[in-house]
């Protein structure tokens, strides 16, 4: 298979994932294949428990899949040694989680510098780059504060700065607006969009929130571990279908209550 004009960044082929829970094998991801184009805004959409987080872990290089391949620029990342994979994570991937984690003893700018530390930057050089990243998210005045002292929205912006500090080719985010109010949520989405648009980077947003679907160039719909890839043209139709499904569910529940 030839990449379409070198446009494909990530190719997921026959990816599957199962976990052994006690005696039982639990299949979290059924064999799935899809591609992620360079410089595109992608949404992986699915309800809770659909296998989203597992897919995100596999894509971000911390979960070795049970089967299939994940290639970035044509290279199977799970063929790397553990140390090469660690370097790949530091260099090529930025992650933002719903709930953010910090190295509690380090201040904001040092936390933002962590991916650079692992890329071999010394502290001065890392601080310089980290300050640029903080400026991009408008958080430069907070550089010397502890991240734990900041509000959820501020923390999320700093997490954004940490995700972009190493100029990764892809930013993977897991419900980045999940614990924010709508104002802060919109701001994070705007940051992601501008990063994709202005710097030509690839965004992968994992969410169960339908509101954001219209932003996507491409949608991967995941349900019960089955992935289905849709291009932008089909997204509005899909959104419509999903909304109708939800409406039907709500109506169904309302009728049940009335009957009772």
């Amino acid at each position: 298979m030839q990449d379409e004009g070198g446009q494909i960044l990530i190719r997921v082929s026959n990816l599957e994932q199962s976990f052994k829970i006690g005696e039982e094998m639990l299949k979290v991801l059924h064999p799935s294949s899809f591609t992620i184009k360079k410089n595109s805004f992608n949404i992986i959409y699915g309800p809770s428990g659909s296998g989203k987080s597992t897919l995100l872990n596999v894509l971000s290089g911390i979960q070795v899949p049970s089967g299939g391949q994940v290639t970035y620029d044509g290279r199977d990342i799970y063929k790397y040694s553990a140390e090469q994979l660690a370097y790949f994570r530091a260099k090529s991937i930025g992650v933002v989680y719903q709930q953010n984690y910090w190295v509690n003893s380090l201040n904001v700018i040092e936390n933002v510098s962590i991916p650079l530390f692992f890329l071999g930057y010394n502290r001065a050089a890392a601080a310089k780059k980290a300050m640029d990243a903080l400026q991009r998210v408008d958080m430069a005045p907070f550089a010397k504060k502890s991240p734990l002292m900041l509000s959820g929205g501020e923390q999320q912006r700093i997490a954004m700065a940490r995700a972009i500090v190493n100029d990764p080719s892809v930013i993977i985010t897991d419900e980045p607006t999940g614990s924010l109010d709508s104002k802060n949520g919109d701001m994070i989405m705007a940051l992601l969009e501008s990063y994709q648009r202005d710097l030509n980077r690839t965004i992968i947003l994992v969410t169960h929130n339908m509101e954001y679907l219209p932003l996507a160039d491409q949608l991967v719909h995941i349900q019960d571990g089955q992935c289905q890839q849709m291009q932008s043209g089909d997204i509005s139709e899909t959104t419509e279908t999903l909304l109708n499904q939800m409406k039907a569910r709500i109506d169904h529940l309302a009728r049940k209550k009335q009957d009772a």
Binding site: S53, N57, S60, I62, Q63, D73, G74, R75, Y80, A82, E83, Q84, A86, Y87, F88, R89, A90, K91, V95, Y97, Q98, Q99, Y101, W102, V103, N104, S105, L106, E110, I114, P115, F117, F118, L119, G120, N122, R123, R162, N166
Partner: protein, 408 residues
């Protein structure tokens, strides 16, 4: 382009060691109380063991110095078990002089004598010594000078003997003429005693004993046939045993300060082990404290470690981070502990000295903190710190970022 990126993956740069040190340091300083208590444990442990061992070594040194003094342990003292049968005379001395490894030979006569300034005399031991023997004997000169090569009727007198003949101020003794009578029972001699006046040239500090040193030539001339004692020095202590055997096979008795030294060392080896044992209890408690701190720190930081792995940290970096924290705790603890024990030893030494000042006129030192002890304790604590850190560090290395960052 692909190849280029493959190359950087192969020759990937790594996190700087000083960045890891910095991160470890920040973690320790962010938990001030806990780090302080852990370090305090190490300070007490290392401090007490350093204090006790330096006390043991100090006492050993003090005892050795007092017993052996400036006597070289490279000397052998030779006497005869029976001067009538086995004669320690010039023939014997010349024979000994030709043994291998011998460097210097000194001879000494000694007799009971009586000494007087004016009128009434007192009993004293008189030694006739040659220059070499005088050099090999530690004489603590208070006034005047030692015996010299061309001295003839010159004498060194001990403080106690001076008092006996009525001179209380040692300064006034130098230059005085004293009369000495030595009974000699010589078979072929005309006189049965040696009676002469000597000029005092020096006063020595031998508080307890009435002692007088005169040149050995005095007795040579008088025709005394055998020496009381011969002292020889050897090029190296390792040759002492064989040489002693050789001398003893000629019927003489030998004695060496190395015998005493070995006895002292034997005794103190035991004593020092007991002291180190007491200190060791403190160290064990400190080690358990450090183990506890590192383990708790690991459990608290599972998420942090998971995060750092996600952000590109290698598992071995996580292990090193814990190792470095242990090294920092150990080194700071050792440094303060050593310094504390040094200060404590200075204070106690001063107190003991002041307390003893009425009875002893010289200052003494009951602690000894040699460099090797500092180095050994530092190395010991570092190694122990690394061993203690090994288990939490290995757990840190095994943390799975997926489990660590799983949403609750």
């Amino acid at each position: 382009m692909r190849n280029q990126e493959d190359d950087t993956i192969k020759k990937r740069p790594k996190i700087h060691l000083n960045t890891l040190f910095y991160m470890a340091w920040r973690n320790l300083t962010s938990k001030k109380l806990r780090s302080f208590l852990t370090i305090a444990g190490i300070v007490v442990g290392i401090g007490s063991i350093a204090f006790l061992i330096s006390f043991g070594l100090g006492l050993q040194k003090l005892v050795t110095d007092n017993v052996i003094g400036d006597k070289s342990i490279k000397t052998i003292e030779i006497t005869s078990p029976n001067s009538k049968i086995i004669k320690l005379n010039d023939t014997a001395v010349n024979k000994i002089r030709r043994f291998p490894h011998i460097e210097k030979v000194g001879v000494e006569y000694s007799f009971p004598s009586s000494v007087a300034l004016k009128g009434g005399g007192i009993d004293s031991v008189i030694y006739g010594v040659d220059q070499t023997f005088q050099d090999l004997t530690t004489l603590n000169l208070l006034e005047g000078r030692l015996l010299q090569k061309n001295d003839n009727r010159s004498a060194l007198v001990s403080l106690s003997a001076l008092r006996g003949i009525g001179v209380t101020d040692p300064k006034k003794a130098v230059g005085q003429e004293i009369e000495i009578v030595v009974p000699l029972q010589l078979a072929d001699s005309e006189a049965d005693e040696l009676r002469d006046t000597f000029k005092v040239v020096g006063v020595i500090d031998s508080d307890q004993n009435n002692e007088i040193f005169v040149p050995s030539a005095v007795f040579d001339v008088a025709g005394v046939p055998t020496y009381k004692q011969v002292k020889v020095t050897i090029d190296d202590t390792s040759n002492i045993p064989t040489l002693r055997k050789q001398i003893e096979s000629n019927g003489f008795l030998t004695n060496s300060p190395i015998d005493t030294l070995e006895q002292i060392n034997q005794l103190f080896k035991f004593f020092n082990i007991i002291l180190a044992g007491f200190g060791g209890i403190g160290i064990i408690v400190a080690i358990l404290g450090m183990f506890n701190t590192l383990t708790i720190s690991l459990l608290e930081r599972t998420k942090e470690i998971g995060l750092m792995i996600t952000l590109g940290g290698r598992k071995r970096d996580m292990r090193r981070l814990f190792m470095i924290e242990a090294v920092l705790l150990s080194l700071i603890g050792v440094f303060i502990g050593m310094f504390g024990s040094f200060i404590a030893s200075r204070v106690i030494n001063e107190l003991v000295n002041q307390n003893a000042a009425q009875r002893v006129n010289e200052r003494f030192e009951i602690f000894s903190l040699p460099l090797w002890l500092i180095a050994a304790l530092t190395a010991f604590m570092l190694i122990v710190g690394l061993i203690v850190a090994y288990f939490p560090a290995r757990r840190a290395q095994k943390i799975s970022p997926i489990d660590a960052l799983r949403r609750e």
